[in-house]
Amino acid sequence: MKVVYNWLKDFVDVTAPPQELASRLALSGTNIAGIENGPHGAVIDAEVSSNRPDCLGHLGIAREVGAIYKLPLKSVSPKPAESAAKTSDAVNVEIQSPELCGRFTARVIRNVKIQPSLKWLKDRLEASGVASISNVVDVSNYVMLELGHPLHTFDYDKVRDHKIIVRRAKPSEKMKTLDGVERQLAPDKDRQLDSGICMISDGDGSRAVGIGGIMGGAETEISFSTKNVLIECAWFEPISIRRAARFLKLHTEASTRFGRGADPEMAELASRRAAELILQLAGGELLAGVVDIYPGKRAPKKLRVTRAEILRVMGADVPDKEVEASLSALGFAPVRIDQNRGAEGSLLAAWECTQPSWRAEVEREIDLIEEIARIYGLDKFPPRLPAARQGAARLPHYEAETRLRDRLIGLGYREILTIPHVAEERDALFRPGGISPARLSNPLSEEANVLRSTGLVTMAAALEWNVNHGQRNVRLFEIGRHYDLTSRKNDEPEPPILTIGATGEAREKNLYDPAREFSFADLKGDLDSIGELAGGFAWRDGGAEWLHAARRGSVVLGANELGSAGQLARRVAEKFKFRQDVFLAELELDPLCTAYLAAKEARRYEPLPRFPAVERDFSLLLPDGTHFSDVVKAIRSLNISEISNIEAADLFRGKNVPAGKYSLLVRVTFQSREATLTDTQIGDYSGKIIAVLEKQLGAQLRAQ
């Protein structure tokens, strides 16, 4: 709403300069987008919130100004001269749908001269950003901007039988609105019988001449040949207007005002004001009286506000005078009704107020308190920090997640955040079987038409972005959610997941070391570092389809399979045009966090050994397909309690190694808690180890 500073002065004698006025308006609840100084003086751009339709006109803004500066509001009471002929003889109005149209007033002016408007009117419209058309049409726009009430003018002679019927739109009804568009006003019969749109029709009611509260029709439009004018000033039910505007995808100045709730009492006054201006600008004679069909008339509501409630909600007092001044200025006519009437500042003070017709949204005591507080000034309520009554809790897995994050960051992974909207076919590359994706019914584009079933699809996209922008060595992780409508539980957040992605070099070349590419072993080691926090992962053959068949595994924690890890399958990597190896892993977060807590609770101190440890290396030739875990299992089967560790120290194939075999250097650490181990003991254990490996695995000991 463009507020023309000089126009405000028609209603209130404001002396504050525009800049100051704007900032006072902002601090009392009218959001100000800016001020412009144009050829017609200052224009304040007010962003009126949707609960304040009364401020969509200069009168309403002036009322706010009056309340802020404690200035009286000038009364609006146009008294246009009337001829002897009666309006009621010239026009007939029938409201068939009072649930949509609560009031309809009509006035008729004969023998007008349609011509361009006078300069002062053109100037004000221009300052308000409205184009001038002709004097009569301009008047209806002017009155709307002045009083906030939309009205419509018909060419009286084009209205058949000079009769108006207000009714609901009929199935499949169409009409041409004055913007020249042919519009369908209700869906076809078979789909929905009634769109609830209010139609203004003429004659026997078969022809629509306007969409009530939204836009007039082309056929009865004012033209330069118009002689006689019919002024419609009505009131339409807000919800039906909003539905209609949405149905028609037609949002106008009128639909905004009626949709938010216009003032039904203003309808007749605005009509009179329009008549006055038309007489002034276009001449002619106004017929006597008004045709006013007002089925929606209601007695004003009584509201009550008490000091006790002001104190309870606001936490600080407002003096009686300020309560009364603000409510009076806004039109609520407060009257003290408590026993202590007259006692300043009484804790029992209560006021009865009358809801003004332009403030239908003020219905409750809290609404009145807001009115008082915003006019009195929100800065008058002193801030204080309230004490907490109970301890605060973090999210259930806050600690586990924090430890996981910190460890991943220590391992060189950067945290990412992604938008879960992805293209369905990309999601399908990673989607586990049996899951149908959560599909949007109104996506912004086909590139973002489903919510991801897994974080891998967005992780792969993040790696793709980096590689495409020259960042070839990337390690990322995300703690996010995945979406799946089929297994959705109503109250729970979507299941959390940890997704990891890496590509490029594990170690970049530097002054001291050569470069080394990231490998499956890096991924496994990093995951095991996380697993350590939760009691340790086990690895099983398997893993998801989108992984390279020879370089993947499934990650197991206790009885739970947490997810998959490995190198991205060639087939999928090609879709992303990756020309370097990409490694991905995804784990379910909840079981991991639960295991973290359990592992933490179970952890106990283990005394450090007092006796020295002894290492022995076994250089083995093993048949291909024998796993390191088989070696460990065989050695462990000896139940030698002094074996404290078994590790793979070196591995190679090829030169000097017979075909079908590979060479594995196994390092076994012996340590006793009771005594220093003797050479004889070590020799004895080593002999047993060699024997069991030979027997169980067909291992050969290589010469050392």
Partner: protein, 383 residues
């Protein structure tokens, strides 16, 4: 004068006390003092290096012919029983003095030798060290954490909720019925429903549904914050993303007032932006709060002057001196009706902070899309 009776001999340690004709404690102390002085003089005359250290150590502490060995042999062992304690005591003192002085000399010698090491061996401090790759928290996560910590410290618990919501929680229970004008400002993503789904599903447009879910589960007092992702069907540009982040806050109790609300928000802002920042509440409108406010802070970048440090208009607040931060207000009593709270007995406040905007403001980021591109060149800037 004791000196007068001191025998003038070349090296007294080669003789016994009797040979020196010393037989009283004072003379013995004098004797040891002169040895100490002799040692100090010798040491002071030598440049601290490894050769001199070895030389001095052998001369004085050498096991076969060191001065202290001689003293032990010649003075202590043959001393008359009455004088033995005083000789032993003095010997120990001298020994400690020599050891300590030599250690100081050794340290000085070592330092000196490193200093003269050739330039060839010296590290070039302008060369980089070995940088192990280290990760980082996403900037949005860092801001979330900071805000969570501030509110946690004043008794707010942290809760999370679903992003896929029902219209009931996202709108109706927040006093936003169908066809409410506010719905026009919140373009909403809807989901295609599985067959037989009872209610429509949408992506939450704000974190406010968790106000309802929290109050449904818990009686007052309630103090929670809700970090999370929210979605609005806006075409992406530099200031709009169809996904972004919010922190919702809610406090409800029997005695929470508007003053408690503004006090809490001011506390937060001063923790986040620093104590110099001024705050301002402007009346506003949200269907689920009453009174509703927009909350502004004095522009922390120009000190609330509207003028940039080098002159000209401040780019952050565009000269307005204030920056609009977020919307908030006292919980509308109508909301309590949806969660069976007695609006006559309880009151409270709620707020919704846009995290992305806050991070953009604080760190001078001009494109919201960069948060979601996850370019490591961006991530690296916030270690």
């Amino acid at each position: 004068m004791y000196r007068a009776i001191m025998p003038n001999v070349e090296n007294p340690t080669e003789r016994t006390l009797a040979g020196l004709a010393i037989n009283d404690p004072m003379a013995i102390e004098e004797l040891f003092t002169s040895e100490k002085v002799r040692f100090d003089k010798q040491l002071a005359a030598k440049h601290p290096d490894e050769v001199n250290y070895t030389l001095m150590k052998n001369a004085w502490l050498g096991r076969k012919a060191g001065v202290l060995t001689l003293i032990t042999e010649n003075w202590l062992k043959s001393a008359p029983p009455a004088l033995k304690p005083i000789v032993g005591q003095s010997l120990n003192q001298l020994k400690r003095h020599i050891e300590e002085s030599l250690e100081t000399f050794r340290v000085a010698a070592e330092k000196g030798s490193e200093e003269v090491a050739s330039n060839r061996d010296r590290v070039d401090l302008s060369l980089p060290g070995v940088l192990r790759p280290v990760g980082s928290h996403h900037l949005i996560r860092q801001v979330f954490q900071e805000i969570e910590d501030i509110f946690f410290s004043i008794g707010f618990s942290v809760v999370e909720g679903p992003e896929i919501e029902t219209p009931y929680y996202n709108f109706e229970a927040l006093n936003i019925p169908e066809f409410h004008p506010v719905r026009d400002d919140m373009d909403t993503f809807y989901l295609e429903l599985p067959k037989g789904a009872p209610t429509p599903l949408l992506l939450r447009t704000h974190t406010s549904p968790m106000q309802i879910r929290t109050m449904e589960k818990q009686k007052p007092p309630v103090r929670v914050i809700v970090p999370g992702k929210v979605y609005r069907r806006d075409n992406p540009d530099a200031t709009h993303s169809f996904a972004f982040h919010q922190i919702e806050g809610l406090a409800v109790d029997t005695d929470i007032t508007f003053c408690d609300f503004t006090g809490t928000i001011e506390y937060f802002v001063q923790q986040f932006f620093g104590p110099g920042v001024k705050t301002r509440f402007r009346p506003s409108y949200f269907p689920f709060t009453e009174p509703s406010v927009e909350f502004d802070v004095s522009c922390p970048f120009c000190g609330g002057t509207g003028t940039a440090a080098g002159g000209g208009t401040c780019s952050k607040c565009k000269g307005a001196a204030w920056i609009e931060l977020f919307g908030a207000g006292m919980v509308d009593p109508a909301v309590y009706g949806f969660v069976n709270y007695d609006a006559k007995k309880v009151s409270g406040f709620a707020f919704g902070i846009g995290i992305d905007r806050l991070a953009m403001l604080k760190y001078g980021i001009d494109d919201i899309q960069i948060f979601f591109q996850n370019d490591v060149r961006f991530l690296r800037q916030f270690p």
